[in-house]
Symmetry: C2
Subunit: 104 residues, 2 copies
């Protein structure tokens, strides 16, 4: 599968992952990107950070800066609106799963 289509198919998956993880615990860009790579997803910072910004602007995430041994990290947590969006996404993900894997 070529990279071009990987992105096409999976960027949405990645966005759901963001909300899901940000609900469990605050996440920040660099570590989250590495987490994604461990799961086989490639995303550049030029894509990831603007997604964070957009999700924060849309009030799906909220951020808080922390100084970790002299380096600034921006931790994102999910908002109530984000939780609602995540639940809607989970519903759709479940439907997709059922359809893809139903016996036929």
């Amino acid at each position: 599968m070529q990279d071009q289509f990987k992105r096409d198919f999976f960027l949405g998956f990645i966005k759901v992952h963001i909300l899901h993880h940000a609900r469990i615990e605050p996440i920040y860009g660099k570590e989250f990107r590495q987490e994604l790579r461990r799961h086989g997803y490639e995303i550049s910072y030029g894509t990831l950070y603007p997604i964070f910004h957009k999700l924060e602007k849309g009030d799906y995430l909220t951020s808080e800066q922390k100084n970790v041994s002299g380096k600034i990290r921006k931790y994102y947590s999910i908002t109530k609106k984000g939780v609602r969006a995540l639940e809607a996404a989970k519903l759709k993900a479940r439907e997709l799963f059922n359809e893809l894997f139903e016996e036929s």
Copy 2:
């Protein structure tokens, strides 16, 4: 959930749906769009048709025109390469599902 984010999250889901359905039987644009609407996905023709074209160009789909009572329909079927991409996507969808719904 606002439309803007619906699209962000679900356009990839839609692309997986396309491959999945095109594997089961040949699909064509207008009917497939209505099928998607029944499942709660909104996509315009200005988005859908170029996706078909791109998937065909990338050899994930192949098309055949048919005359149905005077109207031309372009039926798309999946290719071998498309099947491989679909299987990869199903794997990822399963992983996403497992992560979203795992007990914690």
